[in-house]
Symmetry: C2
Subunit: 186 residues, 2 copies
DNA sequence: CAAAACGTTAAATTTTTTCTTAACAAAGTT
DNA sequence: AACTTTGTTAAGAAAAAATTTAACGTTTTG
């Protein structure tokens, strides 16, 4: 095991891993995670499973930090708790299928975007409609209300589309339109 | 103009707008913007155009803050500088078509994700391949290198798919699969 | 050409977020 | 039942980000 070739190999493997870990961690801000959480995820990506102490060891950070970061990663579906009998330590696994991560996160977020804004639009449209139909309000205000109403109404097309997109992802119909191309493109 | 009905209408319009502004601002964290920037965008959404002083006035914040936030919004394609002759003040308009905002932002981000990680993967695969083909390295390390190599190789399918997704959005082919449904769904 | 208007940069302050140490709670072991 | 082990919560410290005030450069105007 103290073969110099093996030693060199071990270093190179670590270097290669670190390069990808760095890269994943860097781009994961799109998923709303901090660099630390990104590094945790990316580290787990190369491991079968890890417990909190192993993460702490690997990243040189505190255990509560691991705990909270892992919880966040679980919430967005990038890490799963592995049920492990025997050991009291909780063990976790990274979602290694990036398609799943993508689907879980963006569906969650787009759904939130559509629901939150649709709700607000519905609330806002009510008084606007009242103004539009109120004989006592002067035309300039009616016109403004109508203008805003139209704007909001138009935006529903987008939020409906978002809902459809989410549905097509959840049902995986999207992959009929855009197949996972397994041919090597390098 | 000091008609009490008009006064009430004005208040209701403001309230309706604020509700939507709040909602948009809240969900815009998905686009990596701060609540302040989200509020700027959402405020502009209801206006034809605004200059920095009007934004400062409306949001009660400093002008440099407007300046930097607006620049950021421009970078992600949610705000455009309007060329306005006559006035020295720069005027800006919000991208009111949410489809465009969606397309601009996510294409930009997904492209970055794919490019950054693909680059790292290419760099990392080289030494891994060397190890795999090195006669002097013991089997256990070879096996580890092979395992990582396979993992990285597999992830390319996802990054290629991301590239395709970006392409289908930029070319608007996505809307053939998922049409913008303009029928009222409320 | 001096003064004003406008936008941006720089430096400093404030606020927010993240991380750590310490305390705690739950479950298991001896 | 006392003692470990493990994970989480709480409080405090450190780090990062956003915001503001001040200063600067450029352009326009009187």
């Amino acid at each position: 095991m103290n073969n110099p070739h093996d030693e060199r190999a071990r270093e190179q493997i670590e270097e290669a891993k670190d390069q990808v870990i760095q890269s994943i961690s860097e781009t994961m801000d799109l998923y709303g995670v901090t660099p630390a959480a990104g590094k945790i995820y990316a580290t787990m990506y190369f491991e079968n499973q890890m417990n909190l102490d192993e993460m702490r060891e690997e990243l040189g950070m505190s255990k509560p930090s691991m705990s909270t970061n892992v919880r966040h990663l679980q919430q967005i579906g990038m890490v799963k708790k592995k049920f492990q009998r025997g050991s009291r330590k909780h063990t976790y696994t990274a979602e290694k299928n990036f398609f799943h991560s993508f689907m879980a996160y963006f569906c969650q977020m787009w759904e939130r975007e559509a629901n939150t804004n649709m709700e607000a639009i519905h609330q806002a449209e009510k008084p606007l409609l009242e103004i539009i139909h109120d004989e006592h309000v002067s035309d300039s205000f009616k016109e403004e209300a109508r203008h805003h109403y139209e704007l909001l109404n138009q935006s529903k097309v987008y939020y409906n589309w978002l809902d459809q997109l989410v549905h097509s992802i959840r049902s995986e119909e999207i992959f009929e339109f855009l197949p996972k191309d397994t041919s090597q493109k390098d």
